[in-house]
């Protein structure tokens, strides 16, 4: 798998303030599925902006391979990234910068509207969408441009369970296997959707972690990470219950 981005000793801080990130070493390869977990204020959003090239590091360097790969971000607040006034406009905006024929553009917009269950809202003003629809539109508008790296910043926040499951289905069905997916969250339950896990500490360092770490009460407490809803079960009955970290579907009783 080809390397997409390498961060080497990257640090970031605003002038006169304590640095948010210090010496982050990180590599993104094609097809990666990575969760980056961290408590409030640990620099998750800052790191997402650095990867996307929207912030420049104050120390260290970020090198892009393959002509600086395209990066798409779904922000915590989807409203911040809307550029079109209607659903269709927003979806078409990224494509309109890509020299496609009108026919191609319309076909792709129609395909994404239907894939993301937004076809009936095609001409709606974005202010009329529910939170779930808005988040799906943000994801669709990013994926339609086929980014090599997809960054999700707490993508399930503020969505009810039904909206979460529609979002996840759309995500799974439409992310290209070679696209690298980086999922930022403070909730351990997000690891259900990724294959490699890392933790950003409050000191702004990034370290890989194992499933055992993330299943430990002490570890989660010391890193101020939010456990999955049923993880306390495993802690109350050590050795008898496992899989709570992946939700009720995967729990097993010994």
């Amino acid at each position: 798998m080809a390397k997409l981005i390498v961060m080497n000793g990257v640090g970031f801080g605003y002038p006169g303030q304590t640095p948010i990130l210090s010496t982050v070493n990180f590599e993104i390869n094609e097809g990666d599925r990575i969760s980056i977990l961290g408590p409030n204020g640990s620099g998750k959003s800052t790191m997402a902006l650095l990867i996307a090239g929207l912030l420049a590091p104050t120390s260290g360097e970020i090198s892009g391979f393959i002509n600086r790969p395209s990066v798409g971000i779904v922000f915590q607040n989807s409203r911040h990234q809307m550029v079109g006034s209607t659903v269709e406009d927003d979806l078409a905006f990224g494509l309109s910068l890509m020299n496609l024929t009108t026919d191609d553009l319309q076909k792709r917009v129609a395909y994404f509207l239907s894939e993301f269950k937004l076809a009936s809202k095609r001409h709606y003003n974005i202010n009329q969408l529910s939170g779930g629809e808005l988040r799906r539109l943000a994801l669709a508008s990013v994926l339609i441009t086929e980014p090599r790296i997809l960054i999700l910043d707490e993508p399930l926040a503020m969505l009810d369970k039904e909206a979460q499951s529609i979002f996840l289905n759309c995500l799974k069905a439409n992310v290209h296997p070679e696209t690298a997916l980086i999922w930022f969250d403070h909730e351990v339950r997000s690891i259900r959707h990724t294959e490699r896990w890392m933790v950003l500490s409050k000191q702004g360092r990034l370290n890989p972690v194992s499933l055992n770490d993330l299943d430990s009460r002490l570890f989660l407490k010391s890193h101020s990470l939010t456990p999955a809803p049923l993880q306390w079960l495993e802690w109350e009955f050590p050795g008898r219950i496992s899989g709570a970290i992946f939700g009720p579907e995967r729990i097993t009783f010994d």
Binding site: Y14, M158, L225, L233
Partner: protein, 265 residues
């Protein structure tokens, strides 16, 4: 006077329409009636677009209902101190520093500098904010911004607190902080309405649930009755707490007293 047991809030036939008269007019609240006793901690749940946030705004007096009334202590003219924490806290900031943000309302109340300093310090302590007060609230992370928004309201010592999706973006410490604030309100016999889709969190915190759908109050039940409402809630597309989901699937019998061990993590 001990007001325990009396109705603090009475909502009668409340209706509200967004974009009234426009092409996209939406009936957000439809003939809603219920009452709340002093000291109750209430969870307001329902699918997206069911009118939850609109209800909080009407209670806070930010929106004027199209019809119906909201009575506090049985009077129309009396408005107690109500604090509303909105869904997107960054929208409410307009000051240059965290300190100024929290002090703003206090200054308007005519408090002295010493009183303001102390109130700001206490409010920040309650929310567990560890950053600098000279920092711009706009440069904070999502979770920190929520802490500051909560501190702004706590500083005003509201009698009724309305929270709109307060758990969003909060980490483990943040959720503990929120639990402590709810506990504090409970011990002071103050009233709270919490709108949230996070039933795993609500299940541990609230005494009673109001369920809205398409602007109507479809069901009103206590925590004890939760298990009997699971089917109804599931049909509405609402997720039930994972612990109840597990029970429904038949967790081993010897573990069936799980709830008694205390679910808080």
């Amino acid at each position: 006077m001990d007001r325990r047991g009396l109705h603090l809030i009475e909502v009668k036939s409340l209706s509200y329409i967004y974009n009234r008269g426009g092409p996209y007019q939406t009936l957000a609240l439809d003939d809603l009636s219920f009452s709340i006793k002093q000291g109750e901690i209430i969870g307001v749940i329902g699918p997206s677009g069911s009118g939850k946030s609109c209800l909080l705004r009407c209670l806070a007096g930010i929106l004027t209902p199209l019809s119906g009334t909201v009575l506090f202590d049985g009077q129309e003219s009396y408005l107690p101190k109500i604090g509303l924490i909105i869904q997107e806290p960054e929208v409410q900031f307009f000051n240059e520093t965290v300190y100024q943000e929290i002090a703003f309302a206090l200054e308007n109340q005519g408090l002295t500098r010493v009183e303001i300093d102390e109130t700001v310090r206490l409010a920040l302590k309650k929310t567990g904010y560890k950053g600098k007060t000279s920092q711009s609230p706009f440069c904070l992370s999502g979770g920190e911004q929520r802490r500051i928004a909560i501190a702004c309201i706590l500083a005003l010592d509201p009698q009724i607190l309305l929270l709109d999706e307060p758990t969003v973006g909060l980490d483990f410490d943040g959720l503990e902080m929120l639990s402590q604030i709810i506990k504090g309100f409970r011990s002071e016999n103050k009233t709270m309405l919490i709108v949230s889709h996070d039933l795993d969190f609500l299940y541990n915190q609230v005494d009673r649930y109001l369920v809205l759908d398409k602007g109507r109050l479809v069901i009103d039940f206590t925590k004890k009755e939760f298990e009997t409402k699971i089917e109804f809630l599931t049909k509405m597309g609402l997720a039930i707490p994972e612990i109840l989901e597990l029970k429904r699937r038949g967790i081993p019998e010897d573990l069936s007293n799980l709830e008694q061990i205390g679910m808080t993590v």
